[in-house]
Symmetry: C2
Amino acid sequence: MAVYTEVSDVELTSFVENFSIGNLLSCKGIAEGVENTNYIIQTDQGPFILTLYEKRVKEEDLPFFMNLLEHLSRKGIICPTPLKNKKGEALGVLAERPAAIFTFLPGMWPRKIQPVHCAELGRTLAEFHVAGADFETKRPNDLSIDGWRPLFEKCAEHCDDVIPGLATEIETELDFLEANWPKNLAKGIIHADAFPDNVFFRGDKCSGLIDFYFACYDVFIYDLAICMNAWCFERDGDFNVTKAKLLLSNYRKVRVVSDEEITALPLIARGAAVRFLLTRLYDWVNTPKDAMVKPKDPLEYYKILKFHQAARSNSDYGLK
Amino acid sequence: MAVYTEVSDVELTSFVENFSIGNLLSCKGIAEGVENTNYIIQTDQGPFILTLYEKRVKEEDLPFFMNLLEHLSRKGIICPTPLKNKKGEALGVLAERPAAIFTFLPGMWPRKIQPVHCAELGRTLAEFHVAGADFETKRPNDLSIDGWRPLFEKCAEHCDDVIPGLATEIETELDFLEANWPKNLAKGIIHADAFPDNVFFRGDKCSGLIDFYFACYDVFIYDLAICMNAWCFERDGDFNVTKAKLLLSNYRKVRVVSDEEITALPLIARGAAVRFLLTRLYDWVNTPKDAMVKPKDPLEYYKILKFHQAARSNSDYGLK
């Protein structure tokens, strides 16, 4: 949770005056979000989201994200839509950061995941995949298989402080994944970070997706695997087959999933576990004492990886 | 900045249904605030503030704060007003914490303090002091002179890690303050934490005070001294006499300040510097690596204390 950049009242007022959104009443930093600084601003026309882009998002990628969100909105996907200022531009500069104002999405992310949430997520994720299919820009995924070993090497020497023997375990796992990672699976725009805090609900109905700043062009089922890891494991580490079945079956009602994709899913989920284990390890060993963001526990994803390593067949996942 | 307690969507929905504030649309944790967890909630009637009280506020003090805010609102002071639920109660329970919903105050706190802000603060602080004069409950100030030595003793052994020799310096200062602390100055309800982030403005006009959870019964000019330290020193540590004069002169337009109070103000400001130096030191040495709140720099208040120790007369403060 973080507000990395303070915005002065004077600067903000003049920034907001560039948009046709009424008079600024208030601005409060939102605790959620790790990559960027987000404020909720109130004007006499209602609430909006102000995002300041910090260094973790590459500036040259920002037009991709703006265009993607506009594209998705036009296709009926409920997501934050960037507003254009009076000059017709979505991106501006505020507090020396690239900045944009977005529509406000009603809804809350589910703190306690119920099966119905997984069903809704499956449908929503597939609708998003279908809506993004004709989006032309193909931003590569820096955090897919080719990115893992370099990331591991940056924190390898500290791995064993977290779990003794972890460095060797990860190295063996990377060897395995690199040798077996499937090719030629269906690709398109994926969210790549659809954790529960990025999926809003009103009651039992999904009311939108947020935080597309890992979105990229990669295999669709990598997105499904990330969701399976993030939504279908209980807090004690148990895998909830009911949730996974609902996630997948509702996804398949909207987008056709090939036999190759189903066969590959357990391996892809194993890779997705490594991706989050590595980024969490990296953050864990590189977070200074006075940091604003509390690093997430890498152990959660170590346990998920162990589950996948031990799984014998698709039936362990409720797949067949 | 912190959200200490997560609120589930399900619990929150039923909590909000106890109030007559419309249908819940959204709830986002606010990054600001150190003592409690604050959310901004949107309903179809507009924005509200939801506060969950954490351990740093004593539960037995909560009725004092609720009653004080209601009293001040009745007297025309713009501050968050606790809403009563359908049973007529302001305090409820949410996520196993005492919780309350407040009116939303428009305005933003000033990031760059201008002289006009100090003038407005002076007037507002005095209006608040006058409005609280007939408030009957007299919560003692745990962080006035009697509280400093016990607080110092809890972090004395680590002081010299922050600045070599600091422990001895503080001990000498406490001896001095305890021997010279004035008695019989005018008392009433003070805010005791009116830092810039607790004072809202719209343009040049003060639009309200927030965060009354240090409010207590103590000498009025201790409040003025806290404000002088927090608003009238520049970032480089220089004391801005223009701001201090405006703060005091506008305060005096609303509340009569005696000669004894003016004479005592430099000493009280010295004590107020010690109070924040000590609490910041305490937080600095006691904040674990994975804490959600980044501790504030104690050095800022060490420099302010040094200024007060070196001041020769009231004229150094622009007082006469």
